[in-house]
């Protein structure tokens, strides 16, 4: 009996996940990439920078939704969710792409380095894994609960992105300084 109930719950959860994923994927495909040339960089991997941190709280803010709700119009609310979820999904994609690029660069730099600190590397990798998991969670979460429903995760992901960028930058700077020192004739 428990087995049947468990299987039903698991099937329902899986179905819910599938619906959320499909909705998020559809919302992302609905974005007018073709007509908005500035987003095309994402497709080609050319979009290098993560979104400025102050905009994460703006995109996932519940203040704008509260304002639209006060206007008491179903159509406006529907349009707001459609628009804002689209922007939020783009933010997730951009954050994910930016951090992948940072990690690729970091791995390349690590290969050139002679004195790798295992703990630092493990910490960066752990943060990276957390961030990727947060992005996957947000992708599904936006489909299920809208941009405002994943605000906490988004702000956490944003902090992680800043931290990874910072650590990778410091590592790069240290490596470059050592390379320059080694290149100098003794």
């Amino acid at each position: 009996m428990i087995g049947t109930t468990g299987a039903l719950v698991a099937a329902a959860a899986l179905l819910l996940l599938l619906i959320a994923w499909t909705r998020a994927d559809k919302a992302l495909r609905d974005l007018p990439f073709g007509s908005e040339a500035w987003t095309s960089g994402l497709e080609e991997g050319a979009e290098l920078e993560a979104c400025p941190p102050e905009f994460a709280s703006q995109i996932f803010s519940s203040g704008d939704l509260a304002y639209v709700e006060r206007l008491d119009s179903r159509e406006l609310e529907r349009q707001f969710h459609h628009e804002r979820d689209g922007v939020a999904l783009l933010w997730v994609r951009q954050t994910s792409a930016a951090v992948q690029r940072i990690m690729r660069r970091h791995v390349e730099a690590s290969r050139r380095s002679r004195d790798i600190d295992f703990m630092t590397e493990a910490r960066i990798f752990l943060q990276y894994a957390r961030l990727r998991a947060a992005c996957a969670l947000m992708f599904v979460g936006i489909g299920l609960a809208g941009a405002q429903g994943v605000r906490g995760v988004a702000l956490y992901a944003d902090q992680l992105t800043q931290r990874i960028s910072q650590v990778a930058r410091e590592f790069d700077a240290g490596l470059r300084a050592r390379e320059m020192k080694d290149a100098r004739p003794s």
Partner: protein
């Protein structure tokens, strides 16, 4: 932009732009539209005769470019409520029939050309998305006002 653009003329050109031209425009959105209009469509270069005469074409171009980007980020960071107010102020300042302006903005989306080059893609998308929403809200309010009358 060449490295010959010295910091001082650039700062002076920027201050002059802020104090003479931009301070006269009553809304942030209006300032953004004005700055975007100083950009040549074909080349993407900025041009302002008075500023170029006083500080040189390169300093003028750079000052306009910086001011455009800063104003764009400022408008994009506005809450939806503030943006609706900005839009109302801008439409009131154009001296055109507000309803006609609203129709044109919704149909033609001219605000898309107000996005500077090389800005973050997500912020650009947030900007156009918020403006679409602000226009829809203004349209909704107008409908409500008509019903009341």
């Amino acid at each position: 932009m060449s490295a010959e653009v010295k910091l001082m003329p650039l700062q002076q050109a920027y201050d002059d732009l802020l104090n003479r031209s931009l301070s006269r425009i009553p809304s942030e959105l209006g300032r953004l539209i004005y700055l975007a209009s100083t950009r040549e469509y074909n080349t993407g270069h900025y041009y302002h005769q008075g500023l170029a005469d006083r500080f040189g074409p390169e300093a003028a171009q750079k000052a306009l470019e910086i001011a455009h980007r800063q104003t764009f980020y400022k408008v994009s960071a506005c809450s939806l409520e503030d943006l609706v107010e900005e839009l109302e102020r801008y439409l009131a300042s154009t001296k055109e029939e507000p309803l006609e302006c609203l129709n044109a903005w919704q149909k033609l989306e001219p605000y898309r050309i107000a996005v500077p080059a090389d800005v973050n893609g997500t912020v650009a998308r947030l900007f156009t998305s918020n403006l679409r929403l602000a226009l829809a809200i203004l349209r909704f309010r107008q409908g409500q006002n008509r019903q009341i009358r």
